[in-house]
């Protein structure tokens, strides 16, 4: 069964006790600075001097580098090749392949874009690894996010893996009835209805019953909600958030001023 449903890993680090909002602002701040900064080397610096040290401070290095290998590098690599081959800029041809010319400029551009993508995904991965989803939602609800909205986001995150498990059972049930899901393309197309309709119908029933279950537990109660966990929001959190906002503003100003 799925014991671990979110990216979150519980660790005793300096990053974990930060307020969830601070951690979102941190991720967004890094991303915005890397987008707006006028210098191409900013993303590289952010990656090496900010993100990687934070990964170690947050004690999530193993998880981060695993996801880097699985997700970030393939995504960045793909973007790199697409940009390198198809970006029609520059004259300095390094080599060509069939009708495609690779120029020095397109290569540099591709490298820059790929790094920026790496920074973006890394910043978010870091955020997800160190933030408990329930804490995030409780904190955002406390700050005025409608609870229904928070519920939809967080339950979707949890229920998707369950839907996947259910889809597996349906596939197993239909294969037992002789449905060929493996051979030819046309047979696969033909097997869509028997697989999808039980899933859809099942989900409708589920949604209704789940609505009843959470309603029975006072979900729409008009009383002010409380939270099981105390979510700290210290002055250092506010300091970090405002610091990040200032960094973002500086990058935007520099970008406008230098271009």
């Amino acid at each position: 069964m799925h014991e671990r449903l979110s990216f979150f890993v519980k660790r005793d680090s300096a990053l974990h006790p930060l307020n969830p909002l601070t951690k979102i602002v941190l991720a967004l701040g890094i991303i915005l600075v890397s987008i707006f900064s006028p210098w191409y080397w900013t993303s590289h610096v952010l990656l090496l001097v900010v993100i990687v040290p934070l990964v170690f401070i947050g004690k999530v290095a193993t998880e981060y580098f695993t996801s880097a290998l699985r997700l970030i590098l393939p995504a960045a690599g793909f973007i790199f090749f697409m940009q390198a081959f198809f970006q029609p800029i520059g004259q300095t041809v390094i080599f060509n392949f069939w009708f495609l010319d690779i120029t020095q400029e397109s290569l540099l551009f591709a490298f820059r874009i790929a790094t920026r993508i790496t920074v973006m995904i890394s910043a978010f991965t870091l955020f997800l690894l160190t933030t408990h989803p329930s804490e995030l939602m409780s904190d955002l609800t406390r700050r005025g996010l409608p609870p229904q909205f928070a519920y939809v986001i967080i339950s979707t995150l949890q229920i998707l893996p369950q839907m996947q498990a259910k889809a597996q059972t349906i596939i197993a049930a239909q294969r037992s009835r002789g449905l060929d899901t493996e051979s030819t393309f046309f047979k696969r197309i033909g097997s869509v209805v028997p697989l999808v309709s039980p899933l859809v119908f099942g989900s409708l029933v589920e949604v209704e019953e789940r609505a009843i279950a959470i309603e029975a537990r006072g979900f729409t109660s008009k009383k002010a909600k409380t939270s099981l966990y105390e979510i700290s929001d210290r002055s250092s959190d506010k300091f970090i958030r405002w610091g990040l906002v200032i960094f973002v503003i500086i990058s935007i100003v520099l970008k406008l001023w230098l271009s």
Partner: protein, 279 residues
């Protein structure tokens, strides 16, 4: 006056032709443990939804007659207020997991968070409820990683922790093994003795006879019969109407025809059967 008061309740779901409940009259006293039995389609779940306020507030449809719990008329209340008095747990445990929580402990606290229970009161209440249903060892597990029977215990605990005055249970032990079932019936009995009123739909006749104060038999949306567990569960009327009965009852009935059961009353439980068959 009775704690639950159903007066001539007739209810029809939207888009259906026949009523799911017809002229239901039912009075239940505070602290009473009433079991509802009946074949599938008899209206047992609809009755549960009616007591819990979901009929008609959630399902809409046409209702007539009056539904009163703890002196409040359902038609004059709203669902969000009603659920503070009445707790509901139903059969499918998987669909009762909120999906918003990552551990069993958080899952059980969900209802307390929603209804604004202060944080320092929350933890002891969750711990106490988990102890009662014997799931303290599951506190840090993901609710989705549990077996069906364990999930049913979590669903029950999530409602018990809210301390409703009326507990409505729709087949809450369907996925539990016999030992688990016996334990849960014991917990519910204890709640009733502490003053909580309980209405429970169940198929397991032996346990009903051991634990419930009264049995209501439903058929086609109507009350067919009600009374003491032993009277109702051994009645010929149930057999004629396709109800399930315990093997002790059906075997003793056959034995009686052959002159092998001498007593007037038929048994429902093991002890009653042993008593009657003993030479």
């Amino acid at each position: 006056m009775a704690f639950i008061n159903l007066n001539n309740v007739t209810y029809k779901y939207p888009l259906t032709k026949t009523p799911a409940l017809q002229n239901i009259n039912l009075q239940v006293n505070e602290g009473e443990f009433v079991a509802i039995v009946g074949p599938n389609g008899a209206g047992k779940s609809t009755l549960c939804y009616t007591l819990a306020g979901f009929v008609p507030h959630f399902f809409k449809g046409e209702i007539s007659g009056t539904v009163e719990v703890a002196g409040i008329d359902s038609s004059k209340s709203t669902l969000d207020k009603w659920v503070l008095n009445v707790g509901l747990a139903f059969q499918n445990p998987f669909n009762q997991i909120s999906g918003a929580k990552y551990t069993v402990f958080e899952e059980i606290a969900f209802g307390l968070e929603n209804t604004g229970v202060p944080r320092d009161e929350m933890k002891p209440r969750v711990e106490e409820a988990m102890k009662l249903t014997d799931i303290s060892n599951l506190a840090d597990r993901s609710p989705y990683s549990l077996s069906g029977g364990q999930q049913q215990r979590v669903a029950l605990t999530s409602i018990l922790v809210m301390r409703p005055k009326l507990l409505v249970l729709d087949e809450p032990t369907s996925q539990m093994d016999p030992i688990g079932t016996r334990e849960v019936f014991g917990v519910i009995r204890k709640m009733a003795e502490g003053g909580m009123t309980v209405v429970m739909v169940e198929h397991k006749m032996e346990w009903i006879a051991n634990f419930a104060d009264r049995v209501v038999a439903l058929k086609d949306g109507q009350v067919l019969m009600e009374g003491k567990p032993n009277e109702v569960l051994t009645s010929e009327l149930l057999v004629e109407n396709g109800f399930g009965v315990s093997r002790y009852t059906s075997t003793a009935r056959e034995a009686k025809k052959q002159g092998l059961w001498k007593k007037e009353k038929l048994p429902v439980t093991l002890d009653e059967a042993v008593e009657g068959f003993k030479k």
